[in-house]
Symmetry: C2
Subunit: 443 residues, 2 copies
């Protein structure tokens, strides 16, 4: 029963995607502005539904099943709703990610090839219990012309249901099935098998969950399982800068994937650097785990090999002393998760070596790993952060929700005349031009 | 035993990839020129090994297991070897696909974000028995800075082994493990499980084989299972142009994935168009299968629903009469394989509607589907054609073998000052600039 209805929803989304992809930017943006207005106008209804979710979550908190942080993230307020509406407007006002011609190439006279940005099609998403996640993902999908299957956390089910209905009603001039809400865990499994109808999966959640998705579908998956990020304090680092960066990267918000988990320190500066930063960390209640060399300088629990590949997501940090830039690079490439890694150094060349050799989506020089984020990168908003190496890497915004299509405009050409012994040669000249629905005919 | 050695090869490739990615374009291109020279200098050795493969294939041909076409594709000649060497040189001389800065954005003063083209890492490839495939794939991988695992058809094993050794020896200044040859079918299964070490799989072969790969790995897969391509002859078509295109698309080379399988004809022109083209097809020994309306006009076997989604790969063609442009679009989106579809029409607007609505990697106007090919598109060469919708679509050349990385150049920034109530604003200004190994330090 559930399965049948999920399949029907995905099929509907698939049909809607074909039509949505042909809607103009002004139509998609106008719908987004209507959605933003509707969210503000329905404040009471949304807060009522949200209060229900919060009430249930408080009960789970009392019984020890939920954390305070989860309940806090769940709770909406009038000011939060206003900022959600603002976020939708800012997505609406971004440059159109569709229709752009990436390259135009003349293959021969009157035979022109255009590589054009188009939506991907149907995006299947699974996200955590912040109710603003549903709105953000729906807004980015709509702006990029994609149909979207939304599966939020069950803790936010009442809020999600109301927000979903407001979005769908406000965008009633769009092809009906462009957004679909699914609610049960079994529905996710149904999605995993629908590789004919879903073009991309974007799961957010625990690393076990994302791995489960990757292992159980042949649909392409964009996401990250872990954020094991590093800060490397080089021998040539400005140590007070290094202290600010190492502190911010761990303490400013330790629960997120772009927080640092392992601090690597060059042996030449370890004696001078470690006692100061260890004191600051201790004042912020950070638990330190160090290798042997570290523990000769500061107090710390012994770090095991497991620590090097652990995402604590909490006020815990492992520290290792390395003897050279190359050892730091090796450590990051061996134990990191290809997410975000930063070197602090005053020497350009050493930064360049690190940034070229470290195989991560984001590599930083003299900046906190916490900058690795779609909003901070100027992408407007993000649907997630990818640690995979194909399609889209790092924070994924509108551009990561598009793909391209080749449009070839001919005047009757056949391949036969370009083959064999007296084959016509190709021109293969790039030129400035935009594809604009069949320019060569009707002359 | 076999498994262990494949794992060792992949691990070696993984280490080599990290180093290869930091080599300059001139180093990579010089290696390619040395490979091209070595192929020409080793002509005798290669032809001897190839003769062995051909001898064995002739035996299989005699026993009916192989086709004449397979044996022909397998056979090398001095002139084929020269053109293989030329292909390697042309890959060498392509523009460097790496290092390019796609966008440069100032997040704040002295906080600059660069999105830079980098290699993907380790590419696992499985390809058919043409021995030139091994050289082409190895050349494209090297030019794009990727390590590559090569698994060719067993029919070409002697040729492949010799070519592989020549390539490795000629490129001895590169990190040793960048190219790896594997030979057994079980080795492919070993690759499928190595999602920690292989970043992308590019299988070529039967649609069953590609589906098997997709269903049995969590590594991203780029390729196509089927090429069910369409030509739609619109009511507004120039019918003599339509005849040339429909004929070329089927007859010029029917065994390839970009050949047409279903001809859609607008009912307004069916009476005039079909008898002529049917006569030409019959002279070329094309078997026709038509829907009822078609068979009222010309002689053809009845087409079943199965025909609409069948890739014949041979001199067989299905024909359907449609009553409107929209019905043609629906048919293509329902039964096609998102590969290549062409409309023949003299009306710009109708072409635009078709090209926007058809959800395929390549959509053509007044040109044969057979143009869908990396060489004809001007991509230099291709590693394959993708019918997936993420990462790379259509013919995949050097660009499809690259990804990007974010480089952030700071001067000590922490996220704390950009958060909270009196947060610093971001600038988010795009500017013209290339990342060049740490420009901000050492002033």
């Amino acid at each position: 029963m559930t399965e049948k209805s999920t399949k029907a929803k995905v099929t509907e989304a698939n049909e809607a995607a074909l039509e949505l992809g042909t809607r103009s930017d002004s139509e998609r943006s106008a719908s987004l502005h209507r959605i933003a207005d509707a969210i503000e106008d329905s404040q009471e209804e949304i807060l009522d539904a949200n209060a229900e979710d919060v009430r249930e979550a408080e009960e789970m908190l009392a019984s020890g099943e939920y954390s305070r942080a989860l309940v806090d993230r769940l709770e909406l307020s009038p000011s939060k709703l206003r900022s959600i509406a603002e976020m939708v407007r800012s997505v609406a006002d971004q440059e159109d990610p569709l229709g752009k011609t990436f390259t135009a190439r003349r293959l021969d006279e009157e035979l022109e090839l255009y590589k054009v940005a188009v939506p991907i099609g149907v995006i299947g998403t699974v996200f955590e219990s912040r109710p603003d996640a549903l709105v953000q993902i729906a807004a980015l999908s709509l702006k990029s012309g994609n149909a979207v299957i939304l599966k939020g956390g069950s803790e936010a089910s009442s809020s999600n249901r109301v927000l979903f209905e407001i979005i769908r009603d406000a965008a009633s001039e769009l092809p009906g099935g462009w957004a679909q809400l699914i609610e049960a865990r079994e529905d996710v499994d149904t999605m995993l098998g629908m590789d004919d109808s879903i073009d991309l999966l974007m799961p957010r959640g625990s690393s076990e969950f994302v791995s489960y998705i990757q292992d159980n579908t042949s649909i392409p998956v964009l996401g990250h399982t872990e954020g094991v990020c590093h800060v490397f304090v080089d021998s040539e680092a400005d140590l007070s800068m290094a202290s600010e960066i190492a502190y911010d990267a761990k303490v400013q918000y330790p629960a997120v994937c772009n927080a640092v988990e392992t601090l690597l320190v060059h042996e030449d500066v370890a004696d001078e650097f470690l006692p100061d930063i260890a004191g600051r960390y201790r004042n912020a209640d950070v638990e330190l785990r160090g290798d042997e060399a570290t523990r000769e300088i500061i107090e710390a629990k012994p770090a095991t090999t497991e620590d090097w590949s652990t995402e604590y997501g909490d006020l815990t940090l492992s520290i290792k002393i390395v003897e050279a830039l190359e050892s730091a690079i090796d450590h990051v490439n061996t134990y990191g998760s290809k997410h975000t890694d930063s070197i602090v150094t005053a020497v350009t060349e050493r930064a360049g070596t690190f940034m070229r050799a470290v195989d991560s989506a984001s590599v930083f020089h003299n900046a906190s790993t916490r900058f690795s984020d779609g909003y901070r990168y100027g992408l407007g908003a993000e649907v997630g952060i990818s640690t995979g190496k194909t399609h889209a890497r790092g924070p994924v915004g509108l551009e990561g929700l598009t793909t391209y299509k080749y449009h070839l405009e001919g005047s009757g050409q056949t391949v036969g005349v370009y083959a064999g012994d007296d084959a016509n040669p190709f021109l293969h000249e790039e030129f400035e031009g935009e594809w604009n629905s069949g320019r060569l005919s009707e002359e």
